[in-house]
Symmetry: C2
Subunit: 515 residues, 2 copies
């Protein structure tokens, strides 16, 4: 009993949480209760006016309320429309068929049964057609109405009375639904869609920052959560940020299909409001989010660049990440507030930052490759030992020197830039810090060997070098994915502009003027 009490408390607590986090759910439930009460009262009062015995068909009114009363106005309207159309057309067809079957005299029952089979087959087949998906419910109602009228009409021989009373009952239920749902605290699917898109911007921005910071702080997953590996929902904030944006497609499609049913309301003042453009902007955002996903993949990867190398590009990477997130947040805000972009180029800063990162990579690209086993060096020696007639002496010497300089460079690649950078503004003297090179080597060896090469033939030294090279290439990958992310922002801005245009967003309030 005690454990039952506890679990009851748990349930109550969770239910309360849900209500607090989204009070609309409480309101909606109350509205549902109210609609049911209203329809019951109407039946109790036993409206005599249009037809006797409407209350005998009360079940249709209740059924309509229960089925049509949906969370958002758009969904209610769309279901109501489906129900109305299905009922009307089925009613018409059934009355026609009833007349026909009466002509058949003796074979009446056979005609009725046959017609039920044919109609059942056709309606079911049609609703399976992909473009008919939104009207699936309509087909169901059509079938139900047709069968019901045929069957109960045959029994009572009151086809018309059945059809009309049923239609009145449904209209009554639908009327109650619409009045309660629209007049009392309406919940709009369009608003949900709008908020969802704005929220996606924020979550991708958070993910982006998380990725860049995580990468710079050398966050490593001890063990990658298997939920990430199988793309299931997970708590990881970086992961859940972009995942929610990527996964929202089906939700957006559903909201879109309801939003187009909604009349102009609130800030969405025009007929044919361009809801489609919201979905498009969200799609362009998703296209950016895939890059964030790939960036996260660099963190999840087993082959990682060493922390020291990452630090070289620290400031630039961080700046691009921060500016990128800023742009996303600003666009999200603009979507939320329905404002146009300001006069300045919103991408200016992030492009600056990306260019700077690119320049830095250019200057420091010797950090990114493993030059020790460059073919060019080894080749030069081979060529030297052979026939030299076709090579002029000068070029050859340079190549040889190069191979030596490279060998030196590789050993110090981690050390030299650090000391240079540190003294940049102070003196011109170079004091190479002699970090023991074993440390680097050990780090490379300790890398997990998920790609398990065959262990027999290869010497461990070569393996470790392969990893070393792969590890620095991973830094290249991270940066160039980040730059590609910045490039994709352009496309996002274009589709945002299109949305502004079609949805008549207001001009931004210029803060400097207002102040």
């Amino acid at each position: 009993v005690i454990s039952f009490c506890w679990s009851f408390q748990d349930v109550a607590y969770n239910a309360l949480q849900m209500g607090v986090s989204d009070p609309r759910k409480i309101v909606f439930s109350a509205k549902m209760g109210l609609a049911l009460v209203l329809i019951s009262l109407l039946i109790f009062l036993d409206l005599k006016a249009p037809f006797d015995g409407l209350s005998q068909y009360s079940v249709w009114a209740i059924l309509t309320v229960v089925v049509v009363f949906e969370f958002s106005i758009g969904a209610t309207l769309s279901k109501g429309f489906n129900r109305g159309l299905g009922t009307l057309s089925a009613g018409g067809l059934a009355l026609g068929m009833a007349e026909l079957s009466a002509l058949a005299g003796e074979g009446e029952e056979i005609v009725i049964i046959l017609s039920i089979f044919i109609i059942g087959f056709c309606a079911t087949y049609a609703k399976l057609y992909p473009t008919m998906k939104p009207y699936e419910y309509g087909f169901r109602v059509f079938l139900l109405t047709y069968c019901f009228i045929m069957v109960s009409g045959y029994r009572t021989k009151e086809f018309i009375h059945t059809a009309v009373t049923r239609f009145l009952a449904i209209a009554l239920g639908a009327g109650v639904c619409l009045v309660v749902n629209i007049c009392i605290y309406p919940i709009w699917a369009g608003e949900d869609l709008h908020n969802l898109v704005a929220k996606n911007f924020r979550s991708v921005a958070t993910s982006l920052e998380g990725c860049v910071n995580g990468y710079l702080n050398c966050v490593e997953y001890e063990r990658i959560p298997s939920k990430i590996l199988t793309y299931q929902a997970s708590d990881d904030p970086v992961y859940s940020g972009y995942r929610s944006a990527v996964e929202s497609t089906s939700q957006e499609d559903a909201l879109l299909s309801f939003a187009i049913w909604e009349p102009p309301h609130g800030p969405y003042k025009s007929f044919h409001y361009p809801w489609k453009n919201y979905v498009k902007v969200s799609g362009a955002l998703r296209y950016c989010a895939f890059m964030v996903m790939a960036l996260h993949g660099c963190i999840l990867s087993e082959i990682q660049a060493s922390a020291e190398r990452r630090q070289v590009f620290r400031d630039e990477l961080r700046r691009v990440g921060a500016e990128g997130a800023k742009v996303l947040r600003e666009l999200g805000d603009k979507v939320k507030k329905m404002e146009k972009l300001g006069s300045g180029d919103i991408l200016y800063e992030v492009h600056e930052a990306a260019e700077e990162l690119q320049n830095k990579i250019d200057r420091k690209s010797y950090l990114l490759v493993n030059s020790e086993c460059w073919e060019i060096g080894n080749r030069a020696k081979v060529v030297e030992a052979q026939d030299l007639t076709s090579l002029n002496e000068d070029q050859n010497r340079i190549l040889e020197f190069k191979s030596r300089s490279e060998a030196l460079l590789d050993l110090r690649s981690l050390i030299i830039p650090k000391s240079w950078d540190a003294r940049d503004a102070k003196t011109g003297a170079t004091v190479p810090q002699n970090d023991p090179p074993e440390r680097l080597f050990r780090e490379q060896l300790s890398m997990p060997t998920r790609i398990s090469f065959d262990a027999d033939g290869k010497a461990p030294v070569q393996e470790s070098k392969t990893y070393e090279s792969a590890s620095s290439l991973s830094l290249v990958t991270f940066t160039s994915l980040l730059i590609e992310f910045v490039a994709r922002l352009q496309n996002l801005v274009v589709s945002f502009d299109e949305l502004c245009e079609n949805a008549n967003f207001k001009d931004p309030v210029d803060v400097s003027v207002a102040a």
Copy 2:
């Protein structure tokens, strides 16, 4: 009229197409018609046996058939269960409340109305709770039944009769549904899930091959279809391949929720068949597909590596792509045939190929970076002009040479490897082909400047160099994404093994033994 005829022909043709491509849809429609005919016949025969006037409640039987008869067995069972549970519990509750309200005497109506509101509120609120999602339909039926019994029971004072007859009618409808749906050509959701997962393997494999080949053939999109930019469905075969695998989550979840309702059947012989593992394998595949998506991003990107550089890695890239696709196809086949992996390591070949690619990158990494503006060269000159005490003479000279050799190297980076590779097996002589360096330069400048840097301050030369460097880094990105893809295959194999284990896949038929 003629245009109407044409469009009718069109519709008929499309409908026929649908039937041919999936004959199950025709069968299902026919089954639906049959079920409706059966239930109508039963009502016509007016079963007298258990209760009089069951046919008066015929509507419930028809309604049940229309609503519960779903495409797959699992969906039918799950809906039937929901409907049955909802009806039973609501019936019980309604009878209890009816007794209670009768005690209230005068206030009976108020009690009934109040109870409808409270039940309506609670049931609606509960169904909004996320974990209650699969039982959404049950809650609807619960509400409907409760209201109907209370209202119509109050009118006729025959609570128990209403409740029992209604339940019998629903049971009749559900019985007809189940018999027709299970006994005649059953359509299993589990089988659909199984096929969907196997199909995803094939589409990702096709996409992967398309990406690698497209990259090597320097496929460029004149204009990237805006559908790709906003992540909508598109015809592009590479794109639609991975997109379908990525987008199938919601479909898989739906099929999973039905499949768990299905009894053991056909090749799925155990209770609690591990359908969840199929979804997990598909998730792991999706995790690989994200890398294919990123690879495709490299093709879509505006910043591209030059064709010559790609050709250097041609064979290795192609081999990794082909081996990767082979592994995916083989796994897909194994899933389809429900076979375990063979004794050999399925990943051996693709790991070999990836390692070879990695080695080639190591040897040729000078092709991948733009060394012209390496800080190390410029710095050396600055240091030279200043205080040299801390640097020994030798080291300094090497650095100086390096800067010169690099400058040379950069101009020829496109030419040297080609000539070397071409003569690899023939002679040892080196004849540098003197392609005019302007060609390279023009190519860089003609790159679209989607990242529009500010046009005022920077000299065009620097801009072009930045692009040049970025363009070769793009090749690095492509290869390292490909290698990461190979790494992720391991994870896919792990989850496939888990599926084999849990689902008791059969041992593979060893072809060499059988022969």
